[in-house]
Amino acid sequence: MSVTVISESSNGALHPVTAQLVGAASSLGGSITVICPGGVGSSDAANIAGVTKVISVEGDCFESYDCVAWSKAISPLVEGDLVLSSSSAVGRDLASSIAASMGVPVVQDVTSLTEGFSATRPIFSGKAIEEVGISSPCAISLRANSFESAGDGGNAEVSSVNVSQDITVAVKQALAKASERIDVSEADIVISGGRGMGEPANFSHLEEVADILGAAVGASRAAVDTWGEIPHSMQVGQTGKTVTPNLYIAVGISGAIQHLAGMRSSKFILAINKDADAPIFGVADYGIVSTWEEALPVLKEHLSDLLSN
């Protein structure tokens, strides 16, 4: 069998989830081709253990994001019966578009995958788990942090392919740069605030804890709906992002069913809420009944003591 992995990039470099995609591909056996859109991170991709070859696909169309143009440039280079991408927004787009151009089905946001193919994925933002069997060549996007990363030490050959592909989507104006902060759906640790934070300016206290932990900052739907300053991109829950970090810290979040759906599969959950009966405590591994005003300064102090040593 041969697998084609579409690499993921962020800020002009190879994203670590790419090694997880290769790890998942390795567990299926066979050769692994990594395609790097725009050539980003192709030499790093070649160093991932288990990679057979790297195709750096370059051309003007990769200067800004145009899903269909990228997919048209990439699709002819796909080899084998399985295309793997990350389940980021771009990864899902490319998996869908490449699958459609190949006339094969796509299955998104998969958290486990076995030969044949059998895949499981959360549905209803994690309120249920679906297991599917796929009886044809296909494209599959994999959720970050669900598969073991392949190590380094690979030495794959890198070939460059130049494509001239018309772009139809032209960026006229950048309105706001992407947040420097890591995205909630990719982070190992997420700290989220709810309406219990009182006002949006108080999210700065969450950011301070996040900086110590290298965490992403998220928010509940109530916080996003109430305060325009908190963007929807931070929203964790059924109409926002589903997250599965190693540690999820919920502060001032009562735990509406939509929110629980989006974060309950986190490995460990720490909840801080002043209401001892808040539903969030029902899914928390560690619950602290306290106001955030009292808890966060102490948490900050102890975390920075622990992590600076």
């Binding site: 269909v68 089905p105 032209a170 929807h232 939509q258």
Partner: protein
Amino acid sequence: MGVAVLLKQVPDTTAKISISGDRVDEASITKWSISPYDEYALENAIKLKESGFGDVVAITCGPSRSAKCLTEAAAVGADRLIHIISESPLDSIQVQSLLSAAVKESGCEVVMCGKQAADTNSGSTGPGLATTLGFSCVGGVTEVSIEGGNASATRLGPSGLEQVEVAVPCVFTFDKGDSELRRPNVRGIMMAKKKPVDVFSAEDLGVDVGDSMVEIKSHSSPPEKKPGQKFVGSDSIPEVVSKLREEANVI
């Protein structure tokens, strides 16, 4: 011209999802709604119509119950309603070939839908349909305006928030934006009840969907969490922090 809006009926996001005999128990779901991101697509399509762009054609693909979301769309201003009847689960290729045929039937060259549906959370339909139709695709948009054959859209892309231009034909997938969603008035609701729905089978659309290549083997509930440890007051934080390191091994 005109805009085709793709709507999917999903269990309301407040609904509890329960499992019965290794499938999601649809009978226990009391409220079905238009998938939230699709509502933003519908809102933008109606705004375009108000600015003189053309009719709004609401299209859904699903079982008989999904006709309700077409009536809801009509109540806020959709002009034509298309229901592709499909009682069994479809894979992405099947869905896209049916929707593609319906969009062609509608004659629309602008298609709007949510960036993903609230049930499968997949996000395959927009980019897949665009590819199938040979349209462009702009994802994660919050606002689209059209002048002549060109559309201008605000999108949250990998580089941040951007204003982009794209030539029609194009598929736009919507994120949640600042738009206030309109609610139907009584007159709208009454008129919508009388609005005819064009019902199509795959055969009517001339599509041979074949067999689904993706078989649902089972649905299950997420693993139950064992009861956690609860502490009172910020004095407990040193202990909790050390547990995060020693017990949970996550920091």
